[in-house]
């Protein structure tokens, strides 16, 4: 349980550990895509952590990365085929970024740092926490970008009618700017909290 909470904010993979930046920048132009991406990664993370944790006794040190990659690639392919069959539009929109989950460093980092050393339950908790933390971070970025770029949130109109869309937010520079600002704000808040903690007792 502690592991679960750990992944969401204190060690949020995107905002604190700055891992998995490629999908973070690429698929956060709208929220639907971000949620799909986040959940797909969570699923892969959950399954790979489960398998790695179960198989950790059999892992050969020099073969472990190979084993991780086989497990991750298998589940990513499953997700990809599922999306193509049941959510065709979304899979078109996310394009190569679903197969690219294979090389998402959050997943391999958790397999290496956590699942290959912990029991099943903690690694599952860790996977869920990290996955949801990833999804949350993507959603925050995507909300900012979609509201500014289209004036909508989950395709619902939230800005006034005469609002002029900020095209830059749809493009890569907008992603980098938003990402930098959100990480900055997150760090600022954390520092404030820590200052308060250290001054109280």
């Amino acid at each position: 349980m502690a592991r679960f909470i750990n992944g969401i904010l204190p060690e949020n993979p995107v905002l604190r550990l700055v891992l998995g930046i490629c999908p973070t920048l690429a698929v956060t132009a709208n929220i639907k895509g971000a949620i799909t991406m986040g959940l797909a990664a969570t699923f892969v993370l959950f399954c790979s952590n489960m398998f790695v944790s179960l198989l950790k006794r059999f892992l050969q040190p020099h073969l472990r990365i190979l084993v991780f990659t086989i497990i991750i690639a298998a589940f990513v392919t499953i997700v990809d085929m599922f999306l193509k069959a049941y959510m065709y539009e979304m899979s078109r929109q996310l394009g190569p970024y679903i197969p690219l989950i294979i090389v998402n460093c959050i997943i391999i980092a958790r397999a290496e740092a956590c699942a290959s050393k912990s029991k099943l339950l903690p690694s599952l908790g860790d996977a869920l926490g990290m996955g949801l933390g990833f999804t949350l971070a993507l959603c925050i970025l995507a909300s900012i970008r979609e509201i500014l770029a289209d004036g909508t949130w989950l395709n619902m109109r939230v800005m006034w009618d005469s609002f002029t869309p900020w095209t830059i937010m749809k493009l890569a520079p907008g992603a980098f700017l938003t990402f930098g600002i959100v990480v900055g704000i997150n760090n600022f808040i954390r520092r404030k909290i820590e200052e308060r903690k250290s001054s109280q007792p």
């Binding site: 002029t164 900020w166 095209t167 830059i168 937010m169 493009l171 520079p173 700017l177």
Partner: protein, 345 residues
């Protein structure tokens, strides 16, 4: 540190140097007065809302950032005012107010304060703001109105394209179609391209469509010469930039007058003059050594011409400045001045 101890202050009397940051910045503001007057005359008084809004927003943004970062108030170096003015003069006079505000916030906030305030910024803040607006609100940033003075005179009253855009107008495959649609416009763009006297005069006085402060070559020249005389800006950057634009445009015009505008037209149209005197000379984001400044200026002029001739954009001063800003630290390192008496390799 040992090094510091060697710096010794001699006995009085000291020579007082007036040239501080705020003094330099004040000079720039004074030099911008003719441009402001030209803008007011050419585009009517209402358009002064753009500089006023930009300057006000820049000042407020700097104040807020200073408060958040718990830094001492840095407004008295006037750099925020200048960023606001330069941004305002490089956008179309019709730019909606909210876009002015956003551009100014980005210019000062992201272009300067996030890097650590004046002196630490890599890019020219005003150009960061302008680039943001250009990508965000492309349509607004490329909608040009003919100056108001022309409505009475009847020259170019209907034309909205800037001279650069007009010169870029014809490409061989659409020549015929254009001639069919509007003969007058076709002839006009030929006229602009070949650099006829009347067109050059209009460009020099600023009676053409364009950015608020960039149209009048005369006003910019007055301000620029003042800055040069006051030694607020060094002559290398403007000279290098203008020289290379003239040379490249001259060669291009000689080789293929079909595709390249007349050199004088190239110089006076768009933001080249304004860029050379006011934007590129920003002391923070340009090189320090004399050699580096020459290279900076020549690089700028070359990039401007490359973008104007070969890219999809009619104007390239903004991108040229941003690219060269990024190169400036390298130029500095490359051309670092040898300390007196140092060994040469």
């Amino acid at each position: 540190m040992a090094q510091e101890n060697k710096l010794q202050v001699g006995p009085s009397p000291h020579v007082r140097a007036e040239l501080g940051t705020s003094r330099m910045m004040l000079d720039v503001i004074i030099a911008l007065i003719p441009v402001t007057v030209a803008a007011a005359v050419l585009f009517r008084w209402e358009t002064l809302r753009v500089p006023l809004l930009c300057v006000a927003t820049c000042i407020i943004t700097e104040l807020i950032f200073n408060l958040c970062q718990k830094k001492p108030n840095s407004l008295n170096d006037f750099s925020a005012v200048i960023t606001g003015l330069i941004l305002a003069f490089s956008v179309p006079p019709t730019l909606p107010s909210f876009a002015c505000v956003i551009g100014s916030v980005v210019a000062v906030g992201i272009g300067k304060m996030i890097f650590g305030g004046l002196g630490s910024n890599i890019f020219n803040p005003a150009m960061v703001g302008r680039a943001f607006l250009m990508i965000c609100f492309g349509q607004m940033m490329t909608t040009w109105n003919a100056p108001a003075v022309n409505n009475a005179a009847g020259i170019y009253a209907t034309t909205k394209a800037t001279p650069l855009a007009a010169a870029k107008f014809i490409e061989s495959d659409e020549k015929k179609a254009l001639q069919e649609v509007s003969k007058a416009e076709y002839e006009k763009s030929l006229e602009v391209r070949s650099g006829q006297q009347a067109v050059i005069n209009d460009l020099f006085l600023g009676r053409v469509g364009g950015s608020l402060g960039e149209t009048s070559g005369l006003a910019i020249l007055i301000g620029g010469v003042y800055l040069l005389l006051r030694k607020t800006i060094s002559y290398q950057i403007p000279l290098g930039m203008i020289g290379s634009i003239l040379i490249i445009a001259g060669v291009g015009y000689y080789i293929s007058p079909q595709n390249v505008m007349h050199p004088l037209g190239q110089l006076l149209a768009g933001g080249a003059m304004f860029g050379a005197f006011f934007i590129a000379t920003d002391p923070v984001s340009s090189p320090l050594s004399s050699k580096g400044r020459w290279m900076f200026g020549i690089g700028l002029g070359t990039l401007v011409m490359v973008i104007r001739i070969f890219s999809g954009y009619p104007e390239g001063v903004m991108f040229a400045v941003l690219i060269m800003n990024a190169v400036a630290p390298l130029l500095d390192r490359w051309t670092v001045a040898k300390p007196l008496g140092a060994k040469t390799k």
